[in-house]
């Protein structure tokens, strides 16, 4: 199933970056991965993706702050965001959802759940 959807992954853990890229590519998406918030912002300046997968705990910024920033920038305000989070950070997630994150996925994640949520978010954004 080929798709021309582009997904930007902002995730500092190398193992997760690699699994996520593989899963996304297997589903036919074009995935770009970066390790830090600032690299993510730089990528976004180059090209706006169809979806951003964002880790809530990056080395240089909190996912919450990144969410807020993306939502206040008209260029990225409309891009859906899925947050990666761990159990201990679930409290932050409800705040992020208030600030405009579209959905979240708990790490460690079930592969089917990951793929389903990505597809569901992309589907609901399709016009």
């Amino acid at each position: 199933m080929k798709s021309n959807k582009r997904i930007l992954v902002i995730e500092d853990e190398a193992d997760y970056r690699s699994i996520v890229s593989q899963l996304l590519e297997k589903e036919g998406f074009a995935a770009v991965s970066v390790e830090t918030a600032s690299e993510g912002i730089a990528e976004l300046a180059k090209r706006i993706p169809d979806l951003i997968i964002l880790d809530i705990g990056l080395p240089d910024a909190s996912g919450l702050d990144v969410c807020r920033r993306l939502r206040s920038d008209p260029g990225t305000a409309g891009v859906p965001i899925i947050l990666f989070t761990v159990r201990s950070e679930l409290g932050q997630v409800s705040q992020a959802l208030e600030y405009g994150a579209t959905d979240y996925i708990l790490k460690p994640f079930d592969i089917r759940t990951f793929v389903e949520r990505v597809k569901a978010v992309l589907k609901s954004e399709d016009r």
């Binding site: 679930l90 409800s94 959802l97 708990l106 089917r112 389903e116 589907k123 609901s124 016009r127």
Partner: protein, 231 residues
Amino acid sequence: MITIAILEDDPDMADLMGSLISGDGRKVVTFSTAGKFLDSLDKKIPDFLVLDMNLPGISGKDLLRVLRGNPRTSRLPILSVSGSMREISDVVSGLDLGADDYLRKPFDNREFRIRVDSLLARSRRQSAASETAADEEIAVGPLRISLDSRVVILEKRAVNLAPLEFELLIYLLRQRNRVISRHTLLENVWKGDPVMSTRAVDKRVEILRSKLGKFGSHIETVFGIGYVFKL
């Protein structure tokens, strides 16, 4: 007081879910069968439903169709919970049929609580918004509708709709991605006019589709049931 209904046939799971989401200002009511839940709707519609998609006797998908087809429950916030191994398509189609969010079992307890809280907060925001919106504009893709002045613009050109077509379009848009039965449309758009039949619904949908041109293909026919505005 918010009433949260849990429809789950496994009593241990029902207890667990109940304890995770109960709290101040919340009343949790559990039902072990779809029949009991549907009967309870005569007395009271809950503010939220946690729906096990694997109920014996009726599939979660069918129940979702029934709930979304009934105007009294068409906007009920629903979190569907699915459990068995083979159900990839069940989860995604559960969303298509009108669940607002979903979880797989086994789920993380805290995640369950947060998804319920988020969905409750979202639905409260949405009903507050629709109450205060006076001169509301609906924007969907290339379509712009001004509710006050009843003007419909499609790709920058005005579309001339009869009053019934306008009401029909608004209703379908507001229920987008939810399957609506002809009967429900008769009740809500034709206001239960006893002279009208479901044939009138079909005719009007056809006219609306043709006036919307290519965009009209978003109104899909669901055979044996009715229509859905897919977006």
